[in-house]
Subunit: 109 residues, 3 copies
């Protein structure tokens, strides 16, 4: 068994936990902050059988990876005479970090 210590953006954590759960993987959420990612991140502990690690990695990449999103700045028209200001802007969101650690023994009770 492996323990995947996974740090994702707060905004991505609920969707990742839900996707993991739908695929039968349980996770425990720890409150975390700063460091590897921008402020506001969540650390998940995910225990995974060896033959399922690639599946879980794919789910993490799907839900937590860095990607860009187009947002249109919410500038009131009166204050933005320059139409360029109303153009959508590409911002980076998400981003995940994952440490895979070997678990020598696991038990539930």
């Amino acid at each position: 068994m492996k323990l995947l210590i996974t740090i994702v953006q707060d905004a991505d954590a609920p969707a990742l936990v839900k996707a993991l759960s739908e695929h039968g993987f349980q996770s425990t959420k720890l409150a975390s902050t700063g460091g590897f990612l921008r402020e506001g991140n969540t650390t998940l502990l995910i225990g995974v059988e060896d033959d399922q690690v690639e599946t879980v990695k794919a789910i993490i990449r799907e839900k937590g990876r860095t990607r860009t999103r187009l947002i249109t700045p919410g500038v009131p028209l009166a204050e933005a005479p320059d139409p360029f200001l109303a153009q959508p802007v590409e911002v980076r969101v998400g981003g995940a970090v994952c440490f895979v650690v070997d678990v020598e023994e696991f038990f539930k009770c």
Copy 2:
């Protein structure tokens, strides 16, 4: 040395930390939530010498395991004419999950 990353119900955490301490084992409490157990759990980091792992596992099982408890629903008599409603009900409480990870090096300073 091993690190026992242990997730228990919030309600069981104080008794577990106390029992560990009484047996000479220190633990660090992380706030956690959801996932492996019902809402409201606590993750403990417990560093343990190899020859003490079984002792600590036994303490975790003693204080954190899933067990049943009989509770009598607090229904006001006037609203529960059916005496069956006043019967004790068996509920599951507790439950722990433990990942044992090898520690290559440990230091205090």
Copy 3:
């Protein structure tokens, strides 16, 4: 790669995170409490390449180690006629604990 699961006093955490960052090491802060150290500590997850572990250990020792500090008790003079009470007192502050765990695999996405 190694994961250094490091527990320091809350008061020392910002300086440690800053020193790590200045040396190019990222860390993730988990809220923690009790156990290995006096109340009010912080757990840091620090991912480190094998050849950098000694450097990071030195930074942890520099910023988090137990040391003494002289404090002068803030007793109002009127209430402390005995001049002995105004003498500086040596108190212990700080203290860190670090578990070094092997990371089998690491990814960012």
